[in-house]
């Protein structure tokens, strides 16, 4: 039984068929890549998987649970967390607080307990701090915990977004172009981080990426989208050699 099972997923915006008959099956612990030329519908697939868009047809099963058409919040609780192509951090909040927002649904106390500073507030906040710092240290951000998120350098902002997504304790992590705007050194570092996350958090990762060095470096399997349709899928090595894929990227 695959962790994520997507069958015949499709969505139309007016007359435009943005994604059509998209199917994918991702096993637990896999590092899966979704690639394709600009405008192929990759981010649209992500948005459907996370409930931002409601798919017109198709079924999404996560760990045996049907999550098709559910709200973003329900899907996050079911176990999908994501990062965004254009970084979406809580900019006016500290790095630590960003991660603590991610922990929100796992460490609970009521508003009243917070306002009146009941014992559970102190206890839970301490636990949250500890857990958040643990996560930050994975990404070597623990020394910058007090920084404002907007003051972090670009690469660190990307990492913080991943840390925040991991804080929601997902089963599946979706990364939307994690290496966008990074230099080769930062990309190499990011590859290590993603691998580390997969190995140490027992995470399944689905990522969209344009940087082929990253894709070929860490993804075990790939799906290629072109004009909203699945062009081919399979092992990374085979897919990248496929002449159809090369044509889609480079033209005839």
């Amino acid at each position: 039984m695959a962790l994520l099972e997507v069958k015949n997923l499709g969505i139309s915006f007016g007359g435009l068929r943005a994604v059509d008959e998209f199917s994918v099956s991702i096993e637990k612990g896999e590092l899966y890549g979704l690639i394709g030329p600009n405008g192929a519908g990759k981010t649209t697939v992500f948005n459907m998987l996370t409930g931002v868009y409601k798919p017109s047809n198709g079924v999404i099963m996560l760990d045996g649970q049907n999550i098709t058409g559910k709200s973003t919040i329900e899907i996050n609780r079911a176990g999908i967390a994501r990062t965004f192509q254009n970084i979406r951090l809580f900019k006016a909040m500290s790095v630590l607080d960003n991660v603590k927002v991610g922990l929100h649904n796992h460490y609970k106390y009521s508003t009243a307990e917070g306002v009146f500073r009941m014992p559970r507030f102190f206890f839970t906040e301490k636990e949250m701090d500890k857990k958040a710092m643990e996560l930050l240290s994975v990404f070597e951000l623990d020394s910058k915990a007090d920084f404002l998120a907007s003051n972090l350098p670009y690469g660190d902002q990307r990492k913080l977004e991943i840390a925040r997504a991991l804080a929601t304790q997902p089963k599946l992590l979706l990364l939307d172009e994690p290496a966008a705007g990074m230099n080769p050194n930062e990309t190499a570092e990011l590859m290590n981080t993603i691998r580390f996350v997969r190995d140490n958090f027992d995470m399944t990762v689905l990522l969209i990426e344009h940087d082929m060095s990253l894709v070929s470096g860490i993804c075990e399997k790939l799906s290629v989208l072109n004009f909203g349709q699945l062009l081919c899928e399979g092992n990374t090595f085979d897919v990248l050699k496929n002449p159809e894929v090369i044509t889609a990227y480079l033209g005839d």
């Binding site: 919040i73 609780r77 607080d97 929100h104 106390y109 917070g114 804080a167 929601t168």
Partner: protein, 370 residues
């Protein structure tokens, strides 16, 4: 050695905690100074009369800052919630005037009733209104504020041996001979017990500050700030946006209700016309000039801008001129990066001078030699 220990302790305090405690200490200090001044007879009767309104406006500014600064939504209906709190508490006080004769039991209850009624209104209005964003939300809250005010201005409530009578004009009330009118339309409420004192106002302001700071620095407050910073990302980490918006809105309304109760028990008569959009805008001015999201700034702005017109009364002709200049200067100082940096550098210079002066007076005992 002791110096090092205190330094370590200061570092251990979280910046938020330090910020909130600085504000508490400032407010307490201001209160003590005012109390000392007024007990030694150094305060003019004009200023004395302003003490309770100062607390009222500070509470209102702090409460509105929760919506504007923390939730990030512009609300112009604050006077409406204040109006609900004022009327509800006034009604409660008049109704229980005979059964609860001790003011210090009755008044806290009245304040609580005012706050809770306002919070209920906040939730009722918040459910439809919080679907909107930005300018639209501002317009609709403004409208709701005006609606509340006008409904209260048209309301007639009386009580007689048959029970409570509520009508929209005096003739419809059908009061019996022994009845008394409580709310008389645009004439408002008469005979509200004048229970508000500066001490109660101060206590209420402190409660408001503690609630606000604790709220901001809690799990809920963090969620609210996350929604302000990026709603899409907040949803993606599983935050229920509507819920947290409603909680903030209700809390804002509750605190405004407290302020309304304090306000209504400060004057003998209470008229709905006072709670018009000018009041809402005035509160928003406090929030904006004090710095959006800055609780301490709200208190300072509310105090300065309420006191200023009275202090300037002696130069009556130029009063509003100076008031507007102060407004503009404050606006530039809070929004302009260069002006702010200038002020910060002046402050730093002053700080350096003070440290130098201190070093001149108390010379460091030993110099460390490597």
């Amino acid at each position: 050695m002791s110096n090092k220990a205190t330094l370590a302790k200061a570092k251990m305090l979280k910046p938020q905690t330090k910020q909130s405690f600085t504000t508490y200490i400032m407010v307490i200090a201001a209160f003590v100074i005012m109390m000392v001044l007024s007990s030694t007879g150094n305060v003019s009767s004009q200023i004395e009369g302003l003490l309770v309104p100062l607390c009222v406006y500070s509470i209102l500014a702090v409460s509105l800052n929760l919506t504007v600064g923390i939730l990030g939504e512009l609300s112009l209906g604050q006077a409406g919630f204040m109006c609900v709190g004022a009327y509800a508490s006034a009604l409660f006080s008049i109704a229980t005037n005979e059964s609860i004769t001790v003011a210090w039991i009755r008044f806290p209850l009245a304040i609580l009733v005012g706050g809770i009624c306002a919070a209920v209104f906040g939730i009722l209005i918040g459910i439809p209104v919080l679907r909107l964003r930005g300018d639209y939300l501002a317009i609709v809250t403004l409208a709701f504020g005006e609606i509340i005010k006008n409904v209260f201005a048209a309301l007639y409530v009386g009580i007689d041996s048959n029970g409570l009578h509520i009508a929209l004009n005096q003739a419809d009330m059908n009061l019996a001979e022994d009845g008394t009118e409580i709310i008389r339309g645009a004439l408002g409420v008469k005979g509200v017990p004048q229970d508000s004192t500066f001490v109660i106002g101060f206590v209420l302001l402190m409660i408001t500050l503690i609630i606000s700071y604790n709220f901001i620095n809690s799990r809920t407050g963090r969620a609210v700030k996350a929604i302000r910073d990026n709603a899409i990302a907040a949803e993606s980490v599983g935050l229920n946006i509507t819920k947290y918006k409603l909680i903030t809105f209700a809390l804002t309304a509750f605190l405004a209700g407290l302020a309304g109760a304090l306000y209504s028990h400060n004057y003998a008569t209470l008229q709905a016309a006072k709670f018009d959009y000018n009041m809402s805008i005035l509160i928003l001015v406090f929030v904006v000039l004090g710095g959006i999201g800055n609780i301490r700034g709200s208190v300072i702005a509310a105090i300065v801008l309420t006191l200023l017109p009275e202090v300037l009364r002696s130069i009556n002709n130029y009063r509003m001129l100076i008031y507007s200049i102060v407004l503009i200067v404050m606006m530039i100082c809070t929004s302009n990066e260069k002006a702010r940096n200038l002020i910060i550098s002046v402050f730093n210079w002053l700080k350096d001078q003070i440290i130098k002066l201190k070093n001149m007076i108390i010379k460091p005992k030993t110099k460390e030699v490597k």
